[in-house]
Amino acid sequence: MTSLPQNPTATKLGLVIDLDVCVGCHACVISCKEWNTGGYGNALSDQHPYGSDVSGTFLNRIHSFEVVPDGGEIVGEAGVARIVHFPKSCLHCEDAPCVTVCPTGASYKRAEDGIVLVDEDKCIGCGLCAWSCAYGAREMDLAAGVMKKCTLCVDRIYNETLKQEDRMPSCVRTCPANARHFGDLGDPASDVSIMVAERGGFDLMPEQETRPTNKYLPPRPRKSLSDIAPIVPLAENSDGARGFFAWLDKTLDRI
């Protein structure tokens, strides 16, 4: 099914990630690892787990960026940059190049809900899909020799053995800051779609023309403290203790 679904159905399941509240705690990273390493497909292996060159397969990773505003927002002696913690997993693109490049049909996009998956029994581990993904969402598992990627926890979201409230991706369920949201981005009335509309959710690298399903919510605008300073007049009484005592007496008499 290397070709993309002909008539993509209306349902587009995906994640909405709120950069305004992600604190970069990596909870979603490890939760994803533990769910998926015993679940869908081969385990997510780790090479030299206790050695000098440790590495492993992860389907979701948190980057941290320093963003230096144009003009610089200098806070006293403090620096000018601001840090944004940035989670990243598969965006379940509508025009997923990782699917079309796959020579075996292992990579496919589900017609039913748009989830992009790898059928590991078909995957030859050529790595081309990882090359085609601008987002670094695919990682070859070195032990199994097959491509791994975020499954949108397809084995949770439809899992009838789970309580309804738990039928959501592991990373979403665990995120302490509630920075990850799951839902149908094809439905304009869904919570996630509304959130995207209200907060100006955006696509990563639109120029790659992949039309990601997942959306990111930008950090909310900030208002500096010094702008507030004049709003509340502070000098109701005259300076110094004497003035204060007079004010105090007056006020106490009033109440």
Binding site: G39, D119, P176
Partner: protein, 951 residues
């Protein structure tokens, strides 16, 4: 199109879910452990749990790797090589326990103080302190002295509570939240849940922190303060609020000591103390009648502006008057503190204005009648929705006690202690300092073969409560509660090894440690600490600290320095008790406690430490552990949790008490209690009635709830202590006005630092070193995905933080030509380290920082000795000395807060120099420790869960 493959979408997660409590850190979230084929398949947060409400952090999810860690100890170990080598022989438990008894019994029978028993990251202080008390040694404490006692003590003395386990912001209602110096905190998940909630509500979140990562990264405003100057910033805000009259006079009048009368009697022993009646009750002046009344007398209106001479001729002034006089001084004006704090005056004023605006213009009103402790009825609960939270950024400085006090004073003057939208106590707090015990450990408390006369730790109310002898010399090995650190309510674990080595004040025979990596990341001056542990007496060839018993679960650095190692289970293999008698997990709206239980059986010859301690207690015949005939009272810890009673009806757990499990808080033991807990998800939660939810310090319904729950037997309302009389008593001792007089060498410090109204002084290291030579600050932060030293053995977590660069401000990088990946020497008054650097611009320009405790010793933790943690990772601890640089007269003070003894980790001053290119190995480094006992070389590839994989 090919047909889509068939997917098995509804595979059960495992065969069984066992609910217990996480212990990858001290936050103690509820977890659902899914088991499959007798192995852990998946750990997720327990949705019903009061702490984490279903979420879980990275460490919690990585519990699988913690549990199956190759660094787990396998059996009791007896040292065979020299200390530090890691050479051990595995022995049986019987041999281990007999040996421990052989070492401990003579000590107990002759000089119990020669046992020093200190515990680290544990959560069972109710048991360990009970054991130590019955052993009879005065030398017991947990790790709070190097952790956050400034926070705890300042909180208890001021508001009868504190942050973290003691209290939290009203996350659902607060409209302005200001966070001081927190990277992660003990309340990890609740803080994340809370911040996110309030940001989504559009409430403003301000972070005061030299570094802008983590929480600070998502703050609406970041105040990149210069370390050690928060107190000054807070006092500047207080200055502004006084100037503008933005203070909650009604609140101050009712619930605080602002109207209490302070005696002005220069040169006399009551100078600066409260005017009290015969019963010792503080007096206020009724503004309506002008009469003196007891502060807690119903029906009066206390005068906040009192300044008069009493009928018997004593000059008195209200606390609030003293405060106004002090804080309106222009030295606290925003402009005046810019140079110290590095914060522009406009920002400080903006912050003050915002606090005032939200507190007084965005008042919250909850239509909930309630009755205060004077019997007065209130129609509603009025909230000032400004909340604060602080942790080690304030606490870990030598002026941290006063800074934390300043913060509580700020909260109080805007009336936001335990009100809707403000800070809220968590049960069993509030509890005033006076309701806590006094410390015990003076020589009259210690008798061979006898229990200690009372609890070790407590809150002194004046110099008379110190644990010193007639000469004023310390009585405890850590010198807690001495003139050096009078209010060291948590002990001073960081001084134990140095003092035991120096036999100052006396030598110890046995050092018994539990869950503290003292030979590495929890010590200052790590190399010397190691040398002290290795040092031998020249005459006898015996170790200076003759015997070290240690309980750890993993092959940490400290294990190598023990003579006898008692291997603990993992947190999934044992019973634990998270008790209201200890460090609670309550939330502001409910009293909560919890257990851990063996959801898996150990596959090694290890035992839960608490059970081992109970068995040791029995073998040593300690009261409380054996009955009259000398038979053990408890089979194991589980038995103790259920059947031990602190006083009749009060035991470690408050839920499902009474024979029929119907009682809460108080009740006789219930044989099925643990099962009741397990059936409920391993925790118990008792909601506070609605009318008792706020103003707990003065809420009659809450006080009754607390009595019913057994927190105390009579009401313990808290009158918030803006002015702390205890501190003034120390000043009077220093002035020689009041007995006992302070020894000469301590007097100046007591005068400088024990101001009964919060003040700021320059951190000691900054006072003591040439700041031109050491122009920068160096601090650490906790990584959210790593718990101190014990995360690095975790195959998943260690991939996130395999090394820890030193993050250096861009400005300094540019000056020195430093680029990412360069190596540099960082030099303090005490030592130098070499490390890799990385540039950052999101930081205070004079502060460099790194992640805490990533650096590892070669060979520890079952890691390859060539691991980056051991070759590139580093500790700042090598630069931090437990003593300050010598003064002119050669005297060296400890590098601690003078009030509480809190270790001043973040006072460190450094300079930095580019290192020559060459071997990229951090300095200092140490010899390789051998893998202990039968620990195997770990596998080179991990495919956890491969056997379960489906399609």
């Amino acid at each position: 199109m090919n047909p889509e493959p068939h997917l098995a979408l509804s595979e059960p997660v495992g065969e069984e879910v066992r609910k217990t409590t996480c212990y990858m850190c001290a936050c103690r979230c509820g977890i659902d452990v899914h088991l499959k084929d007798g192995k852990v398949r998946y750990i997720e947060g327990n949705r019903d749990h009061p702490i984490n409400k279903g979420v879980l952090c990275a460490k919690g999810s990585a519990g699988i790797m913690q549990h199956y860690s190759p660094a787990r100890l396998r059996a009791p170990l007896l040292r065979t090589g020299p200390r530090g080598s890691g050479e051990f022989r595995e022995i049986s438990w019987d041999e281990a326990l007999s040996l421990a008894v052989d070492w401990l019994q003579p000590v107990r029978q002759t000089a119990p103080q020669k046992l020093a028993f200190f515990t680290g990251r544990d959560q069972s202080q109710a048991l360990t302190s009970f054991w130590a008390q019955n052993f009879g040694t005065p030398n017991y404490a947990a790790h709070g002295g190097f952790c956050s006692v400034n926070m705890a003590a300042a909180g208890i003395y001021t508001i009868g509570g504190a942050f973290w386990e003691f209290g939290a912001p009203d996350w659902d209602k607060t409209k302005l939240f200001v966070l001081f110096g927190v990277a992660e905190d003990h309340d990890s998940n609740p803080i994340k849940i809370g911040i996110s909630k309030l940001k989504k509500r559009g409430a403003r979140f301000i972070s005061v922190n030299p570094v802008r990562t983590g929480y600070s990264a998502i703050a609406d405003n970041w105040i990149g303060i210069r370390p050690g100057t928060d107190g000054l910033l807070i006092l500047a805000i207080i200055h502004e609020l006084f100037r503008a009259g933005k203070i909650d006079l009604d609140y101050l009048q009712r619930y605080t000591n602002a109207p209490w009368l302070v005696i002005d009697d220069e040169g006399k022993e009551d100078h600066g103390l409260f005017l009290r009646d015969d019963l010792g009750k503080a007096m206020v002046r009724d503004r309506t009648t002008g009469a003196l009344v007891r502060f807690d007398e119903p029906g009066h209106r206390a005068d906040l502006n009192a300044d008069f001479v009493t009928d018997d001729g004593r000059k008195v002034r209200s606390v609030l008057r003293l405060m106004a006089e002090k804080y309106l001084d222009p030295k606290y004006a925003p402009e005046a503190v810019v140079a110290e704090t590095g914060i522009p005056a406009a920002d400080i004023r903006g912050l003050a204005a915002e606090i005032a605006r939200v507190a007084f213009e965005e008042e919250i009103r909850i239509e909930q009648p309630w009755t205060d402790m004077k019997g007065e009825q209130h129609e509603a609960m009025i909230g000032r929705p400004v909340s604060f939270h602080a942790m080690r950024g304030i606490s870990a400085h030598s002026n941290g006690f006063q800074s934390a006090r300043a913060l509580h004073v700020l909260q109080t003057i805007i009336g936001s202690i335990d009100c809707p939208g403000g800070y809220r106590y968590k049960p069993p707090y509030p509890k005033p300092a006076t309701a806590h015990p006094r410390p015990h450990g003076r020589s009259e408390h210690v008798k061979p073969g006898q229990p200690l006369a009372g609890p070790h730790l407590g809150y002194p109310l004046g110099p008379e409560d110190l644990l010193v002898d007639g000469e004023g010399s310390p009585q405890r090995i850590d010198k807690a509660f001495s003139w050096e650190a009078p209010l060291s309510a948590h002990g001073m674990m960081h001084m134990v090894i140095a003092n035991a080595y120096a036999a100052d004040p006396y030598p110890v025979d046995v050092l018994f440690l539990y869950m503290a990596n003292m030979a590495w990341n929890s010590s200052m001056n790590t190399r010397s600490t190691i040398e002290m542990l290795e040092a031998r007496d020249e005459a006898t060839g015996e170790y200076r600290i003759p015997k070290i018993i240690y309980s750890d679960a993993y092959s940490s650095e400290m294990v190598a320095y023990a003579d006898l190692v008692l291997p603990d289970t993992t947190y999934l293999e044992r019973h634990d008790c998270i008790s209201l008698l200890d460090r609670p997990i309550s939330e502001p709206e409910a009293a909560c406690d919890a257990i851990r239980w063996p959801v898996l059986e150990p596959d090694r010859d290890v035992r839960g430490f608490q059970s081992v301690l109970i068995e040791l207690g029995a073998r040593l015949n300690l009261p409380g552990f054996v009955d009259e005939s000398g038979l053990p009272l408890y089979k194991d810890y589980a038995d103790y949790i259920v059947n031990h009673q602190r006083k009749p009806g009060i035991g470690p757990l408050s839920g499902w008490r009474g024979v029929d499990a119907q009682d809460e808080g108080r009740g006789s033991p219930n044989a099925d209690q643990l099962k009741n807990y397990i059936d409920n998800g391993a925790f118990f939660m008792k909601h506070i009635p609605d009318e008792a939810l706020y103003f707990k310090h003065h809420n009659a319904a809450y006080q009754q709830f607390a009595i019913d729950m057994g927190f105390f037997d009579a009401p313990q309302p808290v009158t918030i202590q803006l002015y702390v009389e205890t501190l003034q008593k120390f000043r009077l001792s220093a002035l020689g006005y009041r007995q006992p007089f302070a020894p000469e060498q301590h007097r100046q410090r007591l005068l400088d630092c024990f101001d009964p109204l919060p003040d700021w002084y320059r951190p000691f290291e900054e006072q003591g070193v040439d700041t031109a030579q050491y122009p920068y600050h160096a601090i650490t932060q906790r990584p959210m995905a790593m718990y101190h030293s014990w995360g690095s053995q975790n195959a998943w977590l260690r991939q996130i933080h395999t090394t820890n660069p030193l993050y250096v401000p861009g400005q300094i990088c540019d000056e020195l030509g430093l680029k990412n990946g360069d190596w540099a020497w960082v030099i303090s008054h005490h030592g130098r380290i070499k490390c890799e650097i990385a540039r950052t611009d999101a930081v205070n320009g004079r502060t460099m920082w790194t992640w805490n405790a990533i650096g590892k010793r070669k060979g520890a933790w079952a890691l390859d000795p060539k691991s980056p943690e051991a070759t590139k990772g580093f500790l700042l601890n090598h630069l931090i000395h437990e003593l300050l640089p010598p003064r002119a007269d050669g005297m060296r003070w400890s590098n601690s807060d003078p009030v509480t003894g809190q270790a001043a980790w973040y006072d460190l001053r450094v300079r930095i120099e580019k290192a020559d290119a060459g071997t990229e190995i951090s300095e200092p480094h140490f010899s390789t420790i051998k893998r202990p006992g039968s620990q195997q070389q770990p596998a080179d590839e991990l495919r956890f869960g491969q056997e379960w994989t489906s399609k």
